[in-house]
Subunit: 144 residues, 2 copies
DNA sequence: GTGATTGTTGCAAAAATTGGCAATAAGAGG
DNA sequence: CCTCTTATTGCCAATTTTTGCAACAATCAC
């Protein structure tokens, strides 16, 4: 599976975990779905490929991937948790409270904050994937 | 109940919601527990005061308080979600991945980031209560 | 390959969270 | 104070998420 951005199998093995077809399929599903994907969507997709995969396996795999940093999870605010393959260069999202639209931003602004915190508190922040709420420019300004 | 930092009842009423004994008791529990409190802890405490309060009522009340901004919720990373009375001056937490210790920080560093994002994207971030993971100074340095 | 070791899986049961609904009670208006 | 309106509650059922465990299979040593 060459569409992975990282050597997931190697990372799994290096951490002492096993590479199973279920885990590979779950990673594949995450990759193919592209952007943010919910657990329900992943499970549905897997069902079509291999109906014997249990939902608890998906839960466990996703939790493992998140703790390993392979996958990044975020709560959209609508209650559902979304999962996404972690990129090498982390990025973040601005979610508008008004229109619900999401905007990706890069790491720069976050990096600034992380450095300030490091200076002040000696704490090394690991900001993989932030989800920031607020009001986007379009909604903030009265439409003219 | 004068130990509230804000006029919760007024805020509830102003938003068209009713002030019920259940909601007051849940707010009291949040206040008295001080720092971060889990839903389970709140429910346990309420049971001793009034065993007729249903768990679903606690879920609903907490969800309402969060959307109203009266209460702030954060995922510690250990799976459990924690709730806390929102302060007027928002603050944030640094959670160490190694030792699990939490450190409170004030809004300054976050404010900086929010301003940078506003400058660059026109997006007005609403950062009520952030939970940042990383490595604290004690764990990062080899103990000497 | 073959066998041993042990992490993983699927299943089922348990626990947590959410949703529907009739009865109740908070708030408004007399 | 009484009545009316309707948000809220408690109860129950449905749904989602987690957990325990025996069978299975990935990995390693040979």
């Amino acid at each position: 599976m060459s569409h992975y951005t990282r050597d997931f199998e190697g990372i799994l093995r290096a951490a002492g975990y096993r590479v199973t077809p279920q885990r590979i399929q779950i990673l594949d599903a995450l990759c193919d779905e592209g952007g943010h994907t919910s657990l329900a969507a992943i499970y549905l997709r897997l069902q079509r490929i291999d109906p014997t995969i249990d939902k608890s396996t998906v839960y466990r795999a996703l939790k493992l991937f998140v703790t390993l940093g392979l996958v990044v999870s975020a709560d959209n605010g609508d209650g559902e948790v979304y999962y996404e393959i972690a990129r090498v260069q982390p990025h973040h999202h601005l979610v508008c409270r008004q229109c619900g639209q999401q905007q990706e931003i890069d790491h720069d602004a976050i990096q600034l904050m992380a450095e300030a915190i490091y200076q002040q508190y000696g704490f090394q922040v690991n900001t993989d994937h932030l989800m920031l709420n607020g009001i986007c420019a379009g909604c903030r300004l009265p439409h003219q």
